[in-house]
C-alpha cells in the first residue's frame, strides 16, 4: 500500500473540501473526495412560498451567484406554467453570459493560476524581456518594461517585508513549476489585472440585475428591471461587455495558450471517461433545440456516439455518504436522512456529505469540458473552430482534451465563444424593443399544486432544480448541482466520482507539497457549499430531495 496524504482544507475553491490520496511510485493510485459541511437549505424551503425559492437557493453559492437564482426561477415557472417574454429571455441570457465571463476569468487567475505560476520566481525575471514576451504573445494594452518593473517591485516589497499575505507558504520553488521567470512575471501582472477586470465587468450584472453578488431583479414570469431597458443602460452594458471581452481575447486566451505550451504533459493527466451537459442559453422558447450550449451525453470518450441527455436516467447514490440507508434512487424517489451526530470519516465506508449522482449508473464529468466536447461532437461551428485552432497552436491531438489541461482550456474557449455571441444578443434586444415589444414579465397565477423542473448548464456544469407545489406552498425542493457530479464520492458499486477518477495517475513529485493534486482538483472549479444533498426521510414520493 502506498503512502496516504490528506489535503484539507483545499483552498482557492468555494466551500469546505478535503481530498485524500494514496501515492505509490510517485503517482496517485487511489483518491477520495469529501465534502465537509452540511447546511440544509432544501429542508428550510419546505412549506414556504414558491416565489421565495429562487432567493433562498441563490444563497447556496455566492460565487455562482446568478445560476441557482435563474435555475430555480425556471423550475418555478415550469411548475406554474408561464412562458417569459422575449425581452426577459434575452436579458437573462445576457446576465448569464456575464456570469460565465466573470466566473471563468476569476477561476483562471485567482483560483487556478497559482498552480502553474510561481509568483516568487517572477522576481528573477528581466522586466525588459517580459515586456517583449507580453508583446509577442498577448495584445494586453498594459505592458512595457516600466510596467513589469513596477509589478516586480510590488512582489519584492511583499517578500522583503516578511508579510507575504495571500502568497504565504505556497509551493513556490517546486520543480513542478515549469514557466520561465518572464512568463511567471507576466502572468502575475495579469493576476492583478484580472482582479480589477472582474470587479468592473460585474457592472453588467448591476445594470440589469441590481447588484452582484446575489442579483435581485428576476421575478417568476420575467424580470423586474423594466426601467433599465433604456438606450443609455444598454449602451453602458455594451461598453462594459466590450472591456470584458477585450480582456478575454487579448489577455486570458493568450495566457492560457502560453501557459499550456509549458505544461503539455498535462494533456495526458487528469482525464475522466463520461461527460454530461444539460445545455443552456435558449435562443428561443424551444428547448433543448435552440440551446446555444447544446444538451448531450458522451460515454467512454466516444465523441461520435454523442446522444441527447435525458434527466430520467439520473440516479443518486448514498451508500458512501453520510446519510442513513444505502439504496440508489432516482432523484424523484429518494428516501434517506442525514446522519444524526458526528459522522465518522471512513474511506472504506462513508466519507462525504456529498451524494454520488450517476447517469445510467456511470459517473459523469460536468462543466466546461463536458459542454465543449458535446458541442464539438455535434459539430457546432463556433466551438469547433476555436477548439481546432487551439489544438493546432499547441500541436496536440484531440485526445489531449480528456485531461486537466483540456478542462482548463475548455473553460477559456467557451468564455471566448459565449462572450463573442453576447453582442448579437444585445442587438436582438435592441431590435425587439424597437419593434414596440416592451413586455418584461408575463402574468400567471399560482396553481394549487404542480411540479416543475429547470435544467441548466452553468459555469461549473450541469444543474437541475425540481420543485413540487402543494396548497400553493413548497412541498418539496431538490437540486442536483455540478459539484455533486464532479466531486461526489463513490457509489454503491464502488465506482469513483470524476475527481477521484481524474486524480489517479497524477504524478506527485513531493508528497509534502502536492501541487499536482491541486492542479487537477482546481481544474474542476469545485464549489462545495451547494454540492451537499440529503433526500427526504419520510416518504418515497416524487421530488423528495433536499439539500444543504
Amino acid at each position: 500500500m502506498g503512502k496516504r496524504i490528506i489535503v484539507d482544507p483545499i483552498t482557492r475553491i468555494e466551500g469546505h473540501l478535503k481530498i485524500e490520496a494514496e501515492i505509490s511510485g510517485g503517482k496517485v493510485v487511489n483518491a477520495w473526495s469529501s465534502a465537509q459541511m452540511f447546511r440544509g437549505i432544501e429542508i428550510i424551503l419546505q412549506g414556504r412560498d414558491p416565489r421565495d425559492a429562487p432567493l433562498f437557493v441563490q444563497r447556496s453559492c455566492g460565487v455562482c451567484t446568478y445560476t441557482h437564482y435563474l435555475s430555480s426561477m425556471r423550475a418555478v415557472e415550469d411548475a406554474v406554467g408561464v412562458t417569459i417574454p422575449k425581452n426577459a429571455r434575452i436579458i437573462r441570457n445576457l446576465l448569464h453570459g456575464a456570469q460565465f465571463q466573470q466566473d471563468h476569468i476569476t477561476h483562471f487567475y485567482q483560483l487556478h493560476a497559482l498552480d502553474f505560476v510561481d509568483v516568487v520566481d517572477a522576481l528573477k525575471a528581466d522586466p525588459k524581456k517580459t515586456a517583449a514576451l507580453s508583446e509577442t504573445v498577448t495584445n494586453d494594452p498594459h505592458g512595457g518594461t516600466a510596467y513589469f518593473k513596477e509589478v516586480q517591485q510590488k512582489i519584492k516589497t511583499f517578500v522583503d517585508s516578511g508579510q507575504l499575505g495571500l502568497f504565504s507558504n505556497g509551493y513556490w520553488g517546486s520543480p513542478a513549476y515549469k514557466l520561465p521567470p518572464e512568463a511567471n512575471l507576466m502572468a502575475t501582472a495579469h493576476y492583478l489585472e484580472a482582479l480589477r477586470i472582474q470587479a468592473k465587468l460585474v457592472r453588467m450584472h448591476a445594470i440589469f440585475g441590481a447588484k452582484n453578488p446575489h442579483l435581485q431583479a428576476l421575478a417568476v414570469g420575467g424580470i423586474t428591471s423594466v426601467k433599465d431597458l433604456t438606450p443609455d443602460r444598454i449602451a453602458e452594458f455594451l461598453y462594459v461587455w466590450k472591456q470584458a471581452q477585450a480582456f478575454v481575447r487579448n489577455v486570458y486566451i493568450p495566457d492560457l495558450v502560453t501557459i499550456a505550451s509549458f505544461y503539455k504533459d498535462w494533456g495526458a493527466i487528469g482525464g475522466t471517461s463520461n461527460f454530461l451537459a444539460w445545455g443552456d442559453l435558449p435562443m428561443s422558447d424551444k428547448e433543448p433545440e435552440s440551446l446555444f450550449l447544446p444538451r448531450g451525453v458522451i460515454m467512454k470518450r466516444d465523441l461520435k456516439g454523442v446522444k441527447m441527455a435525458e434527466p430520467e436516467k439520473v440516479t443518486e447514490h448514498i451508500d458512501r455518504s453520510w446519510y442513513e440507508g444505502n439504496k440508489a434512487r432516482h432523484p424523484y424517489n429518494g428516501e434517506t436522512k442525514p446522519y444524526q451526530g458526528d459522522p465518522k470519516y471512513d474511506t472504506n465506508g462513508r466519507y462525504s456529505w456529498s451524494k454520488a449522482p450517476r447517469y445510467e449508473g456511470e459517473a459523469c464529468e460536468v462543466g466546461p469540458l463536458a459542454r465543449v466536447l458535446v458541442a464539438y461532437a455535434y459539430g457546432k461551428k463556433d466551438f469547433k473552430a476555436v477548439v481546432d485552432s487551439t489544438l493546432k497552436k499547441l500541436n496536440i491531438p484531440v485526445t489531449a482534451l480528456f485531461s486537466t489541461l483540456g478542462r482548463t482550456a475548455a473553460r477559456g474557449l467557451e468564455t471566448l465563444v459565449i462572450g463573442n455571441a453576447m453582442e448579437g444578443w444585445v442587438m436582438e434586444l435592441v431590435d425587439n424593443l424597437k419593434s414596440g415589444d416592451t413586455a418584461t414579465c408575463a402574468k400567471w397565477t399560482m396553481p394549487k399544486s404542480g411540479k416543475g423542473c429547470g435544467l441548466n448548464d452553468v459555469a461549473r456544469g450541469a444543474l437541475g432544480h425540481w420543485v413540487e407545489i402543494e396548497d400553493k406552498k413548497i412541498k418539496n425542493y431538490q437540486y442536483v448541482v455540478p459539484s455533486t457530479w464532479n466531486l461526489g464520492p463513490r457509489c454503491e458499486k464502488g465506482k469513483l466520482g470524476p475527481v477521484e477518477e481524474a486524480l489517479i495517475g497524477t504524478p506527485v513529485a513531493d508528497p509534502k507539497r502536492p501541487i499536482e493534486i491541486l492542479r487537477t482538483v482546481h481544474s474542476f472549479d469545485p464549489c462545495i457549499a451547494c454540492g451537499v444533498h440529503v433526500i427526504d426521510p419520510d416518504s418515497n414520493q416524487v421530488y423528495k430531495i433536499r439539500v444543504v
Binding site: 412560498d49 508579510q163 482582479l195 460585474v202 444524526q340
Partner: protein, 314 residues
C-alpha cells in the same frame, strides 16, 4: 513629505491620478459619515502603512458571497485592499497555500500577531452535535472560532450569516447554526447584508486604522454610518409612497413609472441599510432601482421574519 510624494508617483504609474485617489478617499469618508477634513487621514491609511495590519479571514457555513462582494471593491481597488493596505494572512478562497501549509499559516499568524490581528468572519457556526456538521482540517467551525476569535484585536462579522446565523439558521435550522456573537457569547462588530456592500466593510476597517477604534454601533452591533437609517427613509421612490402610487404587478405600467414597491412586499421600512445612497458595483444600481422589492437582508432572521418576500408585512 518624501513618502507622500513617492506614493503619488506610484499611483500615477498605475494610471491613477492624485485627483482620482482623493475621490476614492472622499467616497469612503462620505460613506463613513465623517467630515471632509478626514479625507487626508483616510488617504494616509491607504497610502503606505509601515506594517500592514494582519487580517485572519475565517470561512464557516456560508456561500462565499461576502468574499465575492469584497472582491468587487473599487474604493479602494481589491488588489490594493488585499495587497497594499492589509496583510491578508489567511483567507481560504484566495490564498495560495492549501492543506497543511494553509493550516500552518493560520496557526503561525494567530501566534505571531496575537492580540493584534483583525479577525473577519464569514459564515455561521454549527452547534448541533457539538458542531459536527461543519469542519475544516478535522476541526469543527466552533473549535476554530474558539481558537482564533478571542485573540483578535477586533472581530468583524461580514454578512448576515456570521452576524445573525443567516440562511442555514432559518427554520427549522437543521444544523443548529448561530451567528458568531451568539455561538461564542461575545460582542462582535456586525456588517450584515446578503451580501453587504463592500464599502461598509472598508469603511469599518478604515475607521479602525484611522481613529484606532471601531465605529459607533447600534444595539445589533452594526456601524451607524451604514445602518443608521432605514431603506425607506432614503428611498428615491419615497414620494410615490406618500402619494399612494404603488406597483401591484411586475411588468405593469406602474412598474415602468417607477412607483413604490411597498405593495409588492418591499421591506424597506423595516430595514436599516445604506443601499439607496451607497448603491452597488460602482454606484450602478440597487434592488429597488431595478424594480425589485427590498428583502430586508441586513436584519436579523430576515429569512423568517421578512418572508414571504412578495407579500406586505403584517
Amino acid at each position: 513629505m518624501k513618502e507622500e510624494k513617492e506614493f503619488y508617483e506610484r499611483l500615477e504609474k498605475k494610471g491613477i491620478s492624485r485627483r482620482d485617489f482623493m475621490k476614492y478617499c472622499g467616497v469612503v469618508t462620505a460613506t463613513m459619515g465623517l467630515s471632509s477634513s478626514f479625507i487626508p487621514g483616510v488617504a494616509e491609511v491607504f497610502a503606505s502603512p509601515k506594517q500592514r495590519p494582519p487580517v485572519i479571514w475565517l470561512h464557516f457555513a456560508e456561500c462565499t458571497g461576502c468574499s465575492e462582494a469584497t472582491l468587487r471593491s473599487m474604493y479602494p481597488w481589491i488588489d490594493e485592499l488585499v495587497l497594499d493596505i492589509l496583510d491578508i494572512a489567511y483567507h481560504e478562497t484566495i490564498m495560495a497555500a492549501s492543506g497543511h501549509q494553509a493550516e500552518d499559516v493560520l496557526h503561525a499568524a494567530a501566534k505571531k500577531y496575537k492580540g493584534k490581528y483583525i479577525c473577519v468572519v464569514e459564515g455561521a457556526i454549527a452547534t448541533k452535535y457539538n458542531g459536527a456538521y461543519g469542519k475544516i482540517a478535522g476541526r469543527t467551525f466552533l473549535e476554530v472560532a474558539k481558537e482564533i476569535v478571542p485573540n483578535a484585536a477586533a472581530t468583524i462579522c461580514i454578512g448576515s450569516c456570521s452576524s445573525f446565523g443567516g440562511i442555514q439558521a432559518a427554520k427549522p435550522n437543521p444544523g443548529g447554526y448561530k451567528g458568531v456573537g451568539d455561538a461564542l457569547g461575545i460582542k462582535t462588530v456586525n456588517i450584515p447584508g446578503c451580501p453587504p456592500n463592500p464599502i461598509n466593510l472598508v469603511g469599518t476597517i478604515v475607521n479602525y486604522l484611522l481613529l484606532g477604534k471601531l465605529p459607533a454601533l447600534d444595539d445589533l452591533g452594526r456601524p451607524l454610518f451604514a445602518y443608521g437609517k432605514t431603506i425607506h427613509d432614503s428611498c428615491p421612490r419615497r414620494s410615490h409612497y406618500e402619494n399612494g402610487e404603488f406597483v401591484t404587478a411586475f411588468g405593469s405600467e406602474e412598474a415602468k413609472m417607477g412607483y413604490c414597491l411597498y405593495e409588492m412586499g418591499c421591506k424597506g421600512p423595516d430595514t436599516y441599510n445604506n443601499c439607496p445612497t451607497a448603491k452597488y458595483n460602482d454606484g450602478t444600481s440597487w434592488p429597488v432601482e431595478a424594480g425589485h422589492p427590498c428583502i430586508g437582508c441586513s436584519e436579523p432572521n430576515f429569512w423568517d421574519t421578512m418572508t414571504p418576500f412578495f407579500q406586505e408585512k403584517k
